[in-house]
Amino acid sequence: LGDSSVLREAVAVAQHHDAVAGTEKQHVADNYARQLAAGWESCQLLVANALASLSGSKENFVFCNALNVSVCPLTEAAGRVSTSLGGWGGVVPISNFTRRLRREGGSATGELLFQASAPPLGFSTFTVSRLSRRDPPVSPRRTPVSPQ
Protein backbone atom coordinates (compact mmCIF):
# COMPACT_ATOMS: atom_id res chain seq x y z
CA LEU A 1 0.00 0.00 0.00
CA GLY A 2 1.52 3.35 -1.03
CA ASP A 3 1.31 6.35 1.22
CA SER A 4 2.20 9.99 0.47
CA SER A 5 1.71 11.27 4.01
CA VAL A 6 5.16 10.07 5.12
CA LEU A 7 6.81 12.21 2.44
CA ARG A 8 4.50 15.13 3.17
CA GLU A 9 5.46 14.95 6.85
CA ALA A 10 9.19 14.71 6.00
CA VAL A 11 9.00 17.71 3.66
CA ALA A 12 7.00 19.62 6.26
CA VAL A 13 9.70 19.00 8.88
CA ALA A 14 12.33 20.04 6.33
CA GLN A 15 10.84 23.50 6.03
CA HIS A 16 13.04 24.46 8.98
CA HIS A 17 15.68 26.97 7.84
CA ASP A 18 18.42 24.53 8.85
CA ALA A 19 17.11 21.86 6.47
CA VAL A 20 16.66 24.37 3.67
CA ALA A 21 20.08 25.99 4.11
CA GLY A 22 22.11 23.03 5.40
CA THR A 23 23.18 24.90 8.56
CA GLU A 24 22.27 22.06 10.94
CA LYS A 25 24.65 19.76 12.77
CA GLN A 26 25.67 16.65 10.82
CA HIS A 27 23.52 14.21 12.78
CA VAL A 28 20.48 16.46 12.22
CA ALA A 29 21.24 16.57 8.48
CA ASP A 30 21.43 12.77 8.49
CA ASN A 31 18.06 12.64 10.25
CA TYR A 32 16.42 14.91 7.65
CA ALA A 33 17.86 12.66 4.92
CA ARG A 34 16.56 9.55 6.64
CA GLN A 35 13.04 10.96 6.96
CA LEU A 36 13.01 12.07 3.29
CA ALA A 37 14.27 8.67 2.14
CA ALA A 38 11.52 6.88 4.10
CA GLY A 39 9.01 9.34 2.64
CA TRP A 40 9.88 8.83 -1.00
CA GLU A 41 10.12 5.07 -0.47
CA SER A 42 6.41 4.85 0.40
CA CYS A 43 5.44 7.55 -2.08
CA GLN A 44 7.10 5.65 -4.94
CA LEU A 45 4.84 2.71 -4.05
CA LEU A 46 1.83 4.99 -4.38
CA VAL A 47 3.02 6.22 -7.81
CA ALA A 48 3.70 2.63 -8.93
CA ASN A 49 0.16 1.62 -7.97
CA ALA A 50 -1.22 4.60 -9.86
CA LEU A 51 0.85 3.77 -12.95
CA ALA A 52 -0.29 0.13 -12.82
CA SER A 53 -3.89 1.25 -12.68
CA LEU A 54 -3.50 3.87 -15.43
CA SER A 55 -1.39 1.68 -17.71
CA GLY A 56 -3.57 -1.38 -17.12
CA SER A 57 -0.75 -3.76 -16.33
CA LYS A 58 0.71 -4.85 -13.04
CA GLU A 59 4.43 -4.27 -13.17
CA ASN A 60 7.30 -4.36 -10.79
CA PHE A 61 7.93 -0.63 -11.24
CA VAL A 62 11.45 0.44 -10.30
CA PHE A 63 12.54 4.01 -9.56
CA CYS A 64 16.28 4.05 -10.15
CA ASN A 65 17.27 6.75 -7.67
CA ALA A 66 20.89 6.80 -8.84
CA LEU A 67 20.26 7.46 -12.52
CA ASN A 68 22.42 10.57 -12.20
CA VAL A 69 25.42 8.26 -11.94
CA SER A 70 24.02 5.79 -14.50
CA VAL A 71 23.12 3.12 -11.96
CA CYS A 72 19.97 1.10 -12.60
CA PRO A 73 20.08 -2.56 -11.51
CA LEU A 74 16.88 -3.41 -13.39
CA THR A 75 18.13 -2.45 -16.85
CA GLU A 76 21.64 -3.69 -16.14
CA ALA A 77 20.25 -7.12 -15.27
CA ALA A 78 17.93 -7.15 -18.28
CA GLY A 79 20.68 -8.24 -20.64
CA ARG A 80 23.20 -6.42 -22.77
CA VAL A 81 22.41 -4.10 -25.64
CA SER A 82 24.80 -3.96 -28.55
CA THR A 83 26.82 -0.77 -28.49
CA SER A 84 26.90 -0.66 -32.26
CA LEU A 85 23.37 0.69 -32.48
CA GLY A 86 23.04 2.49 -35.77
CA GLY A 87 20.04 4.69 -36.54
CA TRP A 88 19.04 5.31 -32.96
CA GLY A 89 20.44 8.10 -30.83
CA GLY A 90 23.05 5.52 -30.09
CA VAL A 91 24.87 4.62 -26.98
CA VAL A 92 26.84 7.19 -24.99
CA PRO A 93 29.80 5.68 -23.14
CA ILE A 94 29.73 6.21 -19.38
CA SER A 95 32.67 8.43 -18.38
CA ASN A 96 35.43 7.15 -16.11
CA PHE A 97 34.47 9.89 -13.67
CA THR A 98 30.94 8.52 -13.41
CA ARG A 99 32.20 4.96 -13.03
CA ARG A 100 34.46 6.09 -10.21
CA LEU A 101 31.58 7.89 -8.55
CA ARG A 102 29.22 4.99 -8.56
CA ARG A 103 31.88 2.58 -7.24
CA GLU A 104 30.34 -0.91 -7.07
CA GLY A 105 26.85 0.56 -7.61
CA GLY A 106 26.58 -0.50 -11.22
CA SER A 107 28.36 -2.05 -14.16
CA ALA A 108 26.82 -0.54 -17.27
CA THR A 109 29.39 0.72 -19.76
CA GLY A 110 27.03 2.89 -21.76
CA GLU A 111 23.68 4.60 -21.77
CA LEU A 112 21.10 4.00 -24.50
CA LEU A 113 19.74 7.33 -25.72
CA PHE A 114 16.48 7.94 -27.48
CA GLN A 115 14.43 11.08 -27.86
CA ALA A 116 11.25 11.02 -25.81
CA SER A 117 8.50 13.39 -24.82
CA ALA A 118 5.85 13.22 -22.13
CA PRO A 119 2.56 15.11 -21.87
CA PRO A 120 2.56 17.99 -19.38
CA LEU A 121 0.29 15.98 -17.05
CA GLY A 122 0.44 12.25 -17.65
CA PHE A 123 2.99 9.75 -18.88
CA SER A 124 4.35 8.11 -22.01
CA THR A 125 5.41 4.50 -22.19
CA PHE A 126 8.47 3.39 -24.14
CA THR A 127 9.58 -0.18 -24.65
CA VAL A 128 13.13 -1.23 -25.37
CA SER A 129 13.34 -4.81 -26.62
CA ARG A 130 16.09 -6.75 -28.29
CA LEU A 131 15.23 -8.21 -31.69
CA SER A 132 16.84 -11.27 -33.14
CA ARG A 133 19.37 -10.63 -35.91
CA ARG A 134 16.91 -11.74 -38.57
CA ASP A 135 14.25 -9.20 -37.64
CA PRO A 136 14.28 -6.16 -39.97
CA PRO A 137 15.49 -3.00 -38.16
CA VAL A 138 12.44 -1.03 -37.03
CA SER A 139 12.34 2.69 -36.44
CA PRO A 140 11.85 3.45 -32.76
CA ARG A 141 8.16 3.96 -32.11
CA ARG A 142 6.21 4.81 -29.02
CA THR A 143 3.29 2.73 -27.85
CA PRO A 144 0.26 4.95 -28.29
CA VAL A 145 -0.51 6.73 -25.05
CA SER A 146 -4.14 6.68 -23.99
CA PRO A 147 -5.49 10.18 -24.56
CA GLN A 148 -6.15 10.88 -20.93
Partner: protein, 284 residues
Protein backbone atom coordinates in the same frame (compact mmCIF):
# COMPACT_ATOMS: atom_id res chain seq x y z
CA UNK B 1 37.43 19.11 -29.89
CA UNK B 2 36.95 22.61 -31.28
CA UNK B 3 33.16 22.79 -31.40
CA UNK B 4 29.83 21.05 -30.87
CA UNK B 5 26.51 22.15 -32.33
CA UNK B 6 22.86 21.34 -32.91
CA UNK B 7 20.09 23.09 -34.86
CA UNK B 8 20.03 26.05 -32.47
CA UNK B 9 23.37 26.44 -30.75
CA UNK B 10 27.09 26.12 -31.51
CA UNK B 11 29.66 26.00 -28.73
CA UNK B 12 33.36 26.66 -29.43
CA UNK B 13 36.24 25.46 -27.26
CA UNK B 14 39.78 26.80 -26.93
CA UNK B 15 42.00 24.07 -28.47
CA UNK B 16 44.91 25.10 -26.23
CA UNK B 17 43.23 25.27 -22.83
CA UNK B 18 40.18 23.00 -23.36
CA UNK B 19 37.88 25.69 -21.89
CA UNK B 20 34.58 26.94 -23.24
CA UNK B 21 35.35 29.87 -25.56
CA UNK B 22 32.22 31.07 -27.35
CA UNK B 23 28.49 30.43 -27.54
CA UNK B 24 26.54 31.08 -30.76
CA UNK B 25 22.74 31.33 -30.97
CA UNK B 26 22.26 30.12 -34.56
CA UNK B 27 18.59 31.11 -34.68
CA UNK B 28 19.39 34.76 -33.99
CA UNK B 29 22.94 34.83 -35.44
CA UNK B 30 24.26 36.00 -32.07
CA UNK B 31 27.70 35.01 -30.83
CA UNK B 32 29.23 35.85 -27.46
CA UNK B 33 32.74 35.03 -26.22
CA UNK B 34 32.13 33.08 -22.98
CA UNK B 35 34.97 31.64 -20.88
CA UNK B 36 33.90 29.27 -18.12
CA UNK B 37 35.93 27.51 -15.45
CA UNK B 38 35.90 26.34 -11.83
CA UNK B 39 37.69 28.16 -9.01
CA UNK B 40 37.90 27.90 -5.25
CA UNK B 41 37.81 30.64 -2.65
CA UNK B 42 40.02 29.99 0.34
CA UNK B 43 37.66 30.04 3.33
CA UNK B 44 38.59 32.65 5.93
CA UNK B 45 39.39 31.45 9.47
CA UNK B 46 39.21 35.03 10.76
CA UNK B 47 41.86 37.77 10.36
CA UNK B 48 42.96 41.02 11.98
CA UNK B 49 40.00 42.91 10.47
CA UNK B 50 37.46 40.45 11.88
CA UNK B 51 37.56 37.13 13.68
CA UNK B 52 34.63 35.93 11.55
CA UNK B 53 35.38 32.60 9.89
CA UNK B 54 33.58 31.18 6.86
CA UNK B 55 31.09 28.55 7.99
CA UNK B 56 27.61 27.10 7.57
CA UNK B 57 25.93 30.47 8.13
CA UNK B 58 28.63 32.75 6.75
CA UNK B 59 30.46 32.86 3.41
CA UNK B 60 33.72 34.78 3.90
CA UNK B 61 36.64 34.08 1.57
CA UNK B 62 40.05 35.12 2.86
CA UNK B 63 40.85 36.81 -0.46
CA UNK B 64 38.91 38.25 -3.39
CA UNK B 65 40.91 36.20 -5.84
CA UNK B 66 39.72 32.60 -6.22
CA UNK B 67 42.22 29.93 -7.29
CA UNK B 68 41.62 27.99 -10.55
CA UNK B 69 40.74 24.35 -9.77
CA UNK B 70 42.77 23.20 -12.79
CA UNK B 71 45.76 25.28 -11.66
CA UNK B 72 47.79 26.21 -14.70
CA UNK B 73 47.21 22.87 -16.39
CA UNK B 74 45.24 22.41 -19.60
CA UNK B 75 41.76 20.99 -19.04
CA UNK B 76 41.80 17.48 -20.51
CA UNK B 77 38.85 16.93 -22.83
CA UNK B 78 37.26 14.37 -25.07
CA UNK B 79 34.33 14.48 -27.46
CA UNK B 80 31.19 12.31 -27.78
CA UNK B 81 28.99 12.85 -30.83
CA UNK B 82 25.95 10.95 -32.06
CA UNK B 83 22.57 11.63 -33.62
CA UNK B 84 20.99 12.81 -30.36
CA UNK B 85 23.72 14.40 -28.32
CA UNK B 86 27.07 16.13 -28.74
CA UNK B 87 29.16 16.55 -25.64
CA UNK B 88 32.64 17.57 -24.52
CA UNK B 89 33.89 15.97 -21.30
CA UNK B 90 36.23 18.29 -19.38
CA UNK B 91 38.49 17.21 -16.52
CA UNK B 92 39.58 20.15 -14.37
CA UNK B 93 41.11 17.99 -11.62
CA UNK B 94 40.70 14.61 -9.97
CA UNK B 95 37.73 16.03 -8.02
CA UNK B 96 36.16 18.40 -10.58
CA UNK B 97 34.79 17.51 -14.01
CA UNK B 98 32.08 18.75 -16.33
CA UNK B 99 30.20 17.64 -19.43
CA UNK B 100 29.22 20.41 -21.88
CA UNK B 101 26.24 18.89 -23.69
CA UNK B 102 23.95 19.85 -26.57
CA UNK B 103 20.81 17.73 -26.92
CA UNK B 104 19.33 17.49 -30.43
CA UNK B 105 16.70 20.18 -30.88
CA UNK B 106 17.33 21.99 -27.57
CA UNK B 107 18.15 25.73 -27.62
CA UNK B 108 20.37 25.67 -24.51
CA UNK B 109 23.82 24.47 -23.46
CA UNK B 110 23.78 21.95 -20.59
CA UNK B 111 26.74 22.00 -18.20
CA UNK B 112 26.66 18.89 -16.00
CA UNK B 113 29.26 19.53 -13.30
CA UNK B 114 30.58 16.98 -10.78
CA UNK B 115 32.54 18.34 -7.80
CA UNK B 116 34.05 16.49 -4.83
CA UNK B 117 35.41 15.15 -2.59
CA UNK B 118 36.96 18.59 -2.04
CA UNK B 119 40.54 18.00 -0.84
CA UNK B 120 41.35 19.71 2.49
CA UNK B 121 44.64 17.97 3.37
CA UNK B 122 46.31 21.37 2.94
CA UNK B 123 44.31 22.61 5.93
CA UNK B 124 42.29 25.09 3.87
CA UNK B 125 38.50 25.10 3.63
CA UNK B 126 37.36 25.61 0.05
CA UNK B 127 34.28 27.18 -1.56
CA UNK B 128 33.92 26.08 -5.17
CA UNK B 129 32.44 28.31 -7.87
CA UNK B 130 31.66 27.99 -11.55
CA UNK B 131 32.54 31.37 -13.11
CA UNK B 132 31.53 32.69 -16.56
CA UNK B 133 33.43 35.61 -18.14
CA UNK B 134 32.00 37.47 -21.13
CA UNK B 135 32.43 40.76 -22.99
CA UNK B 136 28.98 42.01 -21.93
CA UNK B 137 29.11 45.62 -20.65
CA UNK B 138 27.05 44.99 -17.54
CA UNK B 139 27.77 48.25 -15.67
CA UNK B 140 28.03 46.52 -12.23
CA UNK B 141 24.56 45.08 -12.57
CA UNK B 142 23.28 41.49 -12.53
CA UNK B 143 19.90 39.85 -11.95
CA UNK B 144 18.83 37.03 -9.65
CA UNK B 145 15.42 35.48 -9.06
CA UNK B 146 13.59 35.15 -5.82
CA UNK B 147 11.90 31.76 -5.53
CA UNK B 148 11.64 31.42 -9.28
CA UNK B 149 9.27 34.38 -9.43
CA UNK B 150 10.42 37.96 -9.05
CA UNK B 151 13.68 38.94 -10.77
CA UNK B 152 15.69 41.44 -8.73
CA UNK B 153 18.33 43.78 -10.11
CA UNK B 154 21.52 43.66 -8.07
CA UNK B 155 24.24 46.34 -8.18
CA UNK B 156 27.79 45.67 -7.03
CA UNK B 157 28.71 47.29 -3.67
CA UNK B 158 25.29 48.93 -3.45
CA UNK B 159 22.02 48.51 -1.58
CA UNK B 160 18.83 50.26 -2.73
CA UNK B 161 17.57 50.81 0.79
CA UNK B 162 20.61 52.05 2.67
CA UNK B 163 24.10 53.51 2.09
CA UNK B 164 26.33 50.45 2.07
CA UNK B 165 29.99 50.86 3.01
CA UNK B 166 31.23 47.58 1.57
CA UNK B 167 33.59 45.60 3.85
CA UNK B 168 33.42 42.26 2.00
CA UNK B 169 34.09 42.82 -1.76
CA UNK B 170 33.10 39.24 -2.64
CA UNK B 171 30.74 37.93 0.06
CA UNK B 172 29.05 41.33 0.31
CA UNK B 173 28.00 40.92 -3.32
CA UNK B 174 26.69 37.35 -3.11
CA UNK B 175 22.93 36.80 -3.33
CA UNK B 176 20.61 33.79 -3.17
CA UNK B 177 19.82 32.24 -6.57
CA UNK B 178 16.85 29.88 -6.50
CA UNK B 179 16.41 29.16 -10.21
CA UNK B 180 18.31 31.66 -12.38
CA UNK B 181 20.89 34.41 -12.60
CA UNK B 182 21.62 36.55 -15.64
CA UNK B 183 23.74 39.39 -16.95
CA UNK B 184 22.96 41.57 -19.95
CA UNK B 185 24.00 44.63 -21.87
CA UNK B 186 21.79 46.73 -24.12
CA UNK B 187 21.38 43.93 -26.68
CA UNK B 188 22.27 40.47 -25.38
CA UNK B 189 21.53 38.43 -22.26
CA UNK B 190 23.30 35.38 -20.85
CA UNK B 191 21.03 33.44 -18.47
CA UNK B 192 22.10 30.50 -16.29
CA UNK B 193 19.33 28.26 -14.94
CA UNK B 194 20.18 26.24 -11.82
CA UNK B 195 18.75 22.88 -10.76
CA UNK B 196 18.91 23.88 -7.06
CA UNK B 197 19.37 27.00 -4.93
CA UNK B 198 22.95 28.37 -4.94
CA UNK B 199 24.81 31.54 -4.03
CA UNK B 200 25.63 33.76 -6.98
CA UNK B 201 27.13 37.07 -8.00
CA UNK B 202 28.85 39.14 -10.66
CA UNK B 203 32.14 40.21 -9.08
CA UNK B 204 33.34 42.14 -12.13
CA UNK B 205 31.65 43.44 -15.27
CA UNK B 206 30.74 40.77 -17.80
CA UNK B 207 31.20 37.97 -15.27
CA UNK B 208 28.73 35.74 -13.43
CA UNK B 209 29.46 33.05 -10.84
CA UNK B 210 27.56 30.39 -8.88
CA UNK B 211 28.81 28.53 -5.81
CA UNK B 212 28.32 24.78 -6.35
CA UNK B 213 29.99 23.18 -3.29
CA UNK B 214 31.76 24.02 0.03
CA UNK B 215 33.89 22.13 2.53
CA UNK B 216 35.03 24.07 5.57
CA UNK B 217 37.21 23.29 8.58
CA UNK B 218 36.14 25.88 11.17
CA UNK B 219 32.89 26.70 12.87
CA UNK B 220 31.61 30.23 12.15
CA UNK B 221 30.59 30.77 15.79
CA UNK B 222 26.96 31.38 14.91
CA UNK B 223 25.50 28.55 16.91
CA UNK B 224 25.83 25.29 15.00
CA UNK B 225 29.09 24.55 16.79
CA UNK B 226 30.74 22.48 14.01
CA UNK B 227 32.35 23.17 10.63
CA UNK B 228 30.41 22.63 7.40
CA UNK B 229 32.21 19.42 6.44
CA UNK B 230 29.60 16.91 5.37
CA UNK B 231 30.99 13.43 4.69
CA UNK B 232 29.47 10.63 2.60
CA UNK B 233 28.95 7.05 3.75
CA UNK B 234 32.58 6.38 2.81
CA UNK B 235 33.73 9.12 5.23
CA UNK B 236 35.02 11.04 2.20
CA UNK B 237 33.80 14.55 1.48
CA UNK B 238 30.49 14.70 -0.40
CA UNK B 239 30.52 14.45 -4.18
CA UNK B 240 27.90 16.68 -5.77
CA UNK B 241 26.58 16.52 -9.33
CA UNK B 242 24.28 19.10 -10.86
CA UNK B 243 23.43 21.05 -13.98
CA UNK B 244 23.53 24.62 -15.20
CA UNK B 245 21.62 25.45 -18.39
CA UNK B 246 23.01 28.36 -20.41
CA UNK B 247 20.80 30.49 -22.63
CA UNK B 248 22.19 33.22 -24.92
CA UNK B 249 19.52 35.44 -26.44
CA UNK B 250 18.51 39.01 -27.18
CA UNK B 251 17.32 40.95 -24.13
CA UNK B 252 13.83 41.21 -25.69
CA UNK B 253 13.24 37.49 -26.09
CA UNK B 254 15.34 36.06 -23.26
CA UNK B 255 12.42 35.83 -20.83
CA UNK B 256 10.31 33.79 -23.27
CA UNK B 257 12.97 31.12 -23.18
CA UNK B 258 14.13 31.03 -19.59
CA UNK B 259 10.65 31.21 -18.04
CA UNK B 260 9.40 28.12 -19.86
CA UNK B 261 12.65 26.21 -19.58
CA UNK B 262 12.88 26.90 -15.84
CA UNK B 263 9.39 25.40 -15.40
CA UNK B 264 10.41 22.33 -17.40
CA UNK B 265 13.51 21.95 -15.27
CA UNK B 266 11.56 22.37 -12.05
CA UNK B 267 8.90 19.83 -13.02
CA UNK B 268 11.00 17.47 -15.15
CA UNK B 269 9.47 14.12 -16.10
CA UNK B 270 10.46 11.22 -13.85
CA UNK B 271 11.70 7.98 -15.36
CA UNK B 272 10.10 4.82 -13.96
CA UNK B 273 11.27 1.43 -15.24
CA UNK B 274 9.65 -1.99 -15.30
CA UNK B 275 10.60 -5.38 -16.79
CA UNK B 276 7.47 -5.22 -19.00
CA UNK B 277 4.98 -7.91 -19.87
CA UNK B 278 3.29 -7.91 -16.44
CA UNK B 279 -0.23 -9.37 -15.97
CA UNK B 280 -3.25 -7.25 -16.73
CA UNK B 281 -4.26 -4.93 -13.92
CA UNK B 282 -7.94 -5.64 -14.38
CA UNK B 283 -9.61 -9.04 -14.54
CA UNK B 284 -10.33 -10.09 -18.12
Amino acid sequence: PQEIQNEHVRVLFDPLTGHLKEIQNLDKSISLPVFQSFYWYNASIGNNESSQASGAYIFRPNSSEPIPVSGSKRVSTYLVKNALVQEVHQNFSSWCSQVVRLHAGQPYVELEWTVGPIPVADGWGKEIISRFETTLQTDARFYTDSNGRQILERRRDYRPTWNLSQTEPVAGNYYPVNSRIFIKDKKFQLTVLTDRSQGGSSIFDGSLELMVHRRLLYDDNRGVGEPLVELGADKQGLVVRGRHLLLLDTVESAADRHRLLAQELFMAPYAVLAPGGGPSYRRG
